[in-house]
């Protein structure tokens, strides 16, 4: 699978959980890997690349960490949007 396509799948996976479940890295890696038959390692790399450019972000709340779609506020603060 092309990287861009895989990343779109990851994004959709995270979006689908929004407001319902806080996803750990591992939930995403397992879930997307099962959906796409990509190796967990490939999913992890693709996800990390998205986090590095702010397409996804690490979040924290309720005592534990998760991966989420960044808010506009976060993107503005990181200079991703003006």
């Amino acid at each position: 699978m092309e990287l861009a396509e895989l990343q779109d799948k990851i994004y959709a996976f995270v979006q689908a959980a929004k407001g319902k479940k806080k996803l750990k890295e591992k939930d995403i890696i397992k879930g997307v890997s099962a959906e796409t038959s990509e190796t967990p390692d490939n999913v992890k790399k693709a996800m990390r690349a998205m986090i590095d450019v702010g397409r996804l972000m690490y979040s924290y709340g309720g005592g534990s960490s998760s991966v989420e779609i960044p808010s506009e506020e976060y993107l503005r603060e990181k200079g991703m949007i003006k």
């Binding site: 806080k22 750990k24 890295e25 591992k26 990390r48 986090i51 590095d52 702010g54 972000m57 690490y58 979040s59 924290y60 709340g61 005592g63 534990s64 960490s65 808010s71 976060y74 603060e77 990181k78």
Partner: protein
Amino acid sequence: MKKYETPLLDELEKGPWPSFVKEIKKAAKKSEMANDELGQLEKSYRDRRGYWKHGGIVGVLGYGGGVIGRYSSLPTEFPGVAHFHTVRINQPSGMFYKTDDLRTILDLWDEYGSGLTNMHGSTGDMVLLGCRTEALEPLFAEVTSRGWDLGGSGSALRTPACCVGKARCEWANIDTMDLCNHLTQMYQDYLHRPAWPYKFKFKIAGCAVDCVASIARADCSVIGTWKGKIAVDQAAVKNYAKGGMDVQAEIVDMCPTGCMSYSGGELKIDDANCSRCMHCISKMTKALKATGEKGASILIGSKAPIVVGSLLSWVIVPFIKMEPPYTEFTELVDKIWEWWDDNAKPRERIGEVIEVKGMRSFLEAIGVEPQAQQVYEPRKDPFFFWKEEDLNGNK
């Protein structure tokens, strides 16, 4: 700058112990942020409650930890603490500093933050207290470009910590600072990018005195120990006696295993029955020395009481060699993490998972055999599991 009246806090400038109020006031001379911290704290003292909101989502790009969001619940009244985030800077192992290197951090902190610190936080990081969100990225660039990095937070590997070890202690059985640095560098990814159900802490102590409190607050406690005898310098024993020590009462009678005797000015140790608790060595450091093979005991699981009670770490591997490149240990760690990550519910520490899943499940997963050193006593009840392989084998 606004001048706050602080009659309650002023009471805490009195007395011989160094005053944190004086520290906040020193920082407040230069920083609006520290000044509003002072103002808000006085209000807390008046109202007997804190005025901070739950941590928000802040951090540096790509990392999931190292910055803990903190916002005042009274931002209009105290705008200087509207954002007051914590930045954890990973300490060098052993917390030794070259003064010029530390000054670099101080200069940056005066520029980008409140000028207030904790030296150090509970986990061991240098803590920069009070940073605005927009200062995080440039501060991070400044700090990392000078060879420093952030510590851990959230559901990640927390900054490993250790005692002073071989740097300045005759009791160190392992090189705590080297191992601490090795783990910190080897597991950078786990430290900065929270991938787990909850936090995981390493603490490394050179001996059973445990100056880093590893046994009470590390998911993985590494405690230096040895297998050989305690060498006795009888002349030095005599000197302790001459110096006023009651060797019988203070050493022999306090030995928990009763493995020592003292007669005719000579101290004898039955090494086979010594549990290496460190009492005698710590009281007669000139006379007694651990000898023979050195290594560490690995204990797993300690944590604070939230939420079903505190745990002390349990002996899992009674003895392991602990020398660079530490492969035997880090291979074990990888297996420990895999089992924990596979079995834990959200916010479950490894000690809690072992309680739920059973010690056998854990030991089998990490490939460690049952050993009598792992327990104080065997079970009392007659209800135990048998697996097929137990029935067929000799176990």
